[in-house]
């Protein structure tokens, strides 16, 4: 179709197109330098990003990426593309700048502020979250990051009945995997010897983590003894809360697909094949505990996403609908931040980026056509460009 359109245009205006081609050939080289300026920024530190960098790409350092997103946190299709492009570039967009500005200025002695990122499917909520996490990482936050709650509620690896709480379900393998993720993300901070547990934790008759042991030990206990992983997460959450409260660390709680904690139809089943609501999954407790107001020295950024719930209920992308009544009341008051579709400028920028990466062949009128075809939706644009 594209090809035909182009051909027809060429046929109807042979002269003009020839001119255009000539132009492209002659001017392309010097112009690319200017363009490079306009769509790329060499400011790799997210804490220095401001509105001047809007809709520009910055490169995420590969070591940072390895630490932050080794066990998830970036969408798969984006990761594949990043691998193809041989670099991970994030676009500086309005919602992330907003939140980063807030993070810089808020009073950390107050209870945490909750930011809720919402937006249509595939408009970049997760990548906005990634940008914010990168900022937090650079500023030595303790990052409590859940890559995708939907993985627990809708695609859990295994289930078992909780030993400590009757009627509850443990997702031990998932919990252990998350502990590993947490450990890698916060490896630097966890080395701090001051981060110690504040209570005795009796796992069973023989095993216990005594008071004053380091947080790393607690995490390792969860990773090594997978049976206790779920409980370990909850204890860890409690400990993180207390440590932040005491001012030993500053915490960023980043949860992607938070509304899955409130969507009643999960795919977690008991042995009798009964559906388990998220409120009866052990992991939920810890993270809902973290999203309460009763601690400080922290900030909470969550995303609500249609994809985290069953397809038949994907009616609206607004937070009240996705969170439900209980979820809304749990988070309220929160600051809703919308992640929008691409603006014209952002679209121009990403098209230039794709061209620079030699990902697409350009033809006259391509930008406009793709902008209309994708309706400004980043994910859709990415899919469209895959074929070009």
């Amino acid at each position: 179709m594209f090809k035909t359109t182009a051909d027809l245009l060429i046929k109807s205006h042979p002269l003009r197109v020839v001119q255009g081609r000539f132009f492209a050939a002659a001017v392309a080289e010097p112009k690319s330098e200017d363009r490079l300026q306009s769509f790329r920024t060499f400011e790799a530190d997210p804490s220095k990003h401001n509105t001047n960098h809007q809709s520009q790409f910055y490169k995420v350092d590969s070591t940072d990426k390895k630490v932050l997103f080794q066990y998830g946190g970036l969408p798969k299709s984006f990761q594949i593309q990043a691998k193809t492009f041989n670099e991970t570039c994030l676009m500086v967009r309005d919602p992330s700048i907003q939140i980063i500005n807030h993070l810089k200025t808020i009073d950390y002695t107050q209870p945490p502020i909750k930011f809720v990122l919402y937006g249509k499917k595939g408009c970049g909520k997760t990548l906005t979250l990634a940008h914010i996490m990168h900022y937090a990482y650079k500023n030595d936050f303790l990052i409590v990051h859940v890559p995708w709650v939907g993985n627990w509620m809708r695609r859990c690896k295994d289930t078992s009945n909780s030993e400590t709480k009757p009627g509850f379900i443990d997702l031990n393998i998932d919990a252990a995997a998350w502990l590993v993720h947490f450990k890698t993300q916060n490896a630097n901070i966890l080395e701090n010897p001051e981060l110690k547990t504040t209570i005795d934790i009796q796992w069973n008759k023989r095993e216990c983590t005594p008071i004053g042991s380091s947080l790393l030990e607690l995490i390792d206990q969860g990773i090594n003894r997978i049976r206790f992983a779920s409980n370990c997460v909850n204890y860890l959450a409690e400990e993180v809360k207390k440590l932040s409260q005491s001012g030993l660390c500053r915490t960023l709680l980043a949860i992607d697909g938070f509304n899955a904690f409130f969507y009643p139809n999960t795919r977690v089943f008991t042995e009798k094949k009964e559906m388990v609501p998220p409120s009866r999954v052990t992991l939920t407790e810890g993270f809902l505990n973290l999203t309460k107001f009763d601690w400080k020295n922290s900030v909470i950024v969550v995303t609500v996403d249609e994809i985290a719930i069953a397809e038949k209920d994907q009616i609206s992308h607004y937070p009240r609908y996705l969170l439900g009544k209980s979820g809304f009341e749990h988070l309220d008051p929160f600051l809703p931040v919308e992640v929008k579709d691409y603006s014209e400028k952002e679209h121009q920028s990403i098209m230039d980026y794709y061209r620079e990466r030699k990902w697409i062949h350009s033809y006259p009128g391509q930008n406009d056509e793709l902008y209309f075809l994708s309706g400004g939706n980043p994910f859709r644009l990415m899919n469209l460009c895959n074929a070009l």
Binding site: L8, S12, D368, F372, L373
Partner: protein
């Protein structure tokens, strides 16, 4: 001969004029055999004074013609009276009561919802109600007026005869012009693009004769031959008699003139754009910025890439995507049907804002041709609309 009588018609007036001349002719030659020919003119219909024979068929024809005449006379009278009655019923003045008034009154008094308008009650003058018949083609002695009578289709062959005559005439004229070393003036050349030949039915009506397929093709060939001559414009009147203008097509292709909306922008609305089962109305506003709204949503109304492409194609093709706003309301049908309907609507409406050259390009690209195809129903006893079940011997 007898067969021909079936076609007879009221010829009385014509007859009376011709009568004397014919009678005289016959009297010179036929009187000799009066003794042997036993027939006597005993007709009371035509006052033929001569004692010439009157053909029996002719006699019965004349009787029938007179009957028909009288019948028509009474019908006309009744219609006049009925018209006055109707005017009286409706409380109108009978002198100024027109046929339109009659039709309206009948529709009011006898409301009928029958689908076919011809099946509804009517009150028309008898000339319209009773079909026209061919006038008499021969005199009272049975001699045809027309020299081509025995071809069976005198009028048709008259036309062909005339055509050939014209052709010969024009050929002669061309010869003289060549001798004078003159070329035909191209400005005077016959312009036939805006019209077409009468179709078979119309020709039949015009000639009051049945015309077979072969005869019709002969007619077309002869006419084309005449038109192909370099000096055919000299026979323009004759040719144009058998052509009808292509009014409907050219009218439909006229570009709609944009209206001015309340916001001061021009707009054009195309109604009833169809594709498959979908039907929609498309409004194009100029100047615009490329906003698209379909049933209140943006382009995300269509999930698939194919549908969006369909929608954008006319805009991209004419380079208007940033210059107009589009509002479409579409219902029924599926995704691709709706997209196709809107595409047609956009292309049709865009003509008002672009050059003739672009319009021609759009036409060549097939954007201005509505797609009338719809799904054919499945037939019982077979697998699909056309596909049959697998044939198995047993």
């Amino acid at each position: 001969m007898i067969r021909k009588i079936n076609l007879l018609l009221e010829p009385l007036k014509y007859l009376k004029i011709q009568q004397n001349f014919e009678a005289r002719l016959i009297s010179t030659t036929v009187n000799l055999f009066n003794e042997s020919t036993a027939e006597r003119p005993a007709t009371s219909v035509a006052n033929i004074k001569s004692k010439n024979t009157l053909n029996k068929a002719m006699k019965s024809y004349l009787e029938r013609a007179q009957q028909h005449d009288e019948f028509m006379k009474t019908e006309k009278h009744q219609f006049e009276i009925g018209k006055r009655h109707l005017a009286n019923m409706m409380g109108e003045n009978p002198e100024t009561f027109t046929q339109d008034d009659i039709d309206n009154a009948i529709e009011y008094l006898f409301p009928s919802g029958l689908y076919d308008k011809r099946a509804r009650p009517l009150m028309k003058p008898p000339e319209e109600v009773f079909p026209q018949r061919k006038a008499a083609e021969f005199d009272e002695t049975g001699r045809p007026y027309h020299f081509l009578f025995y071809t069976g289709r005198p009028n048709l062959y008259q036309v062909l005869h005339d055509t050939v005559e014209k052709i010969n005439e024009l050929n002669n004229f061309e010869d003289t012009m060549i001798r004078k070393n003159l070329q035909p003036d191209p400005n005077l050349a016959l312009e036939l693009s805006g019209s077409q030949w009468l179709d078979k039915n119309t020709l039949e009506q015009k000639l009051v004769e049945p015309v077979s397929d072969g005869e019709y093709s002969n007619f077309l060939k002869a006419m084309d031959r005449l038109c192909s001559l370099p000096y055919s414009h000299k026979a323009k009147d004759f040719i144009m008699e058998y052509r009808k203008p292509l009014m409907s097509n050219s009218e439909a292709f006229d570009v709609i003139k944009p209206q001015i909306g309340p916001d001061g922008r021009q707009f054009v609305t195309t109604y009833e754009c169809r594709r498959k089962r979908a039907i929609g109305n498309v409004t194009i506003r100029f100047p615009g910025t490329g906003k698209i709204s379909i049933n209140g949503q943006d382009i995300n109304y269509f999930k698939g890439i194919q549908q969006r492409e369909q929608l954008l194609f006319p805009l991209i093709f004419t380079n208007m995507q940033r210059k107009v706003d589009i509002e479409a309301e579409v219902q029924d049908g599926g995704e691709s049907g709706q997209a196709g309907a809107i595409r047609y609507g956009i292309a049709w409406g865009l003509r008002s804002f672009i050059d003739q050259e672009y319009i021609e390009n759009m036409r060549l690209a097939g954007l201005l041709t509505p797609d009338f195809r719809i799904r054919e129903r499945k037939k019982p006893g077979q697998k699909g609309a056309r596909k049959k079940f697998t044939w198995k011997k047993r």
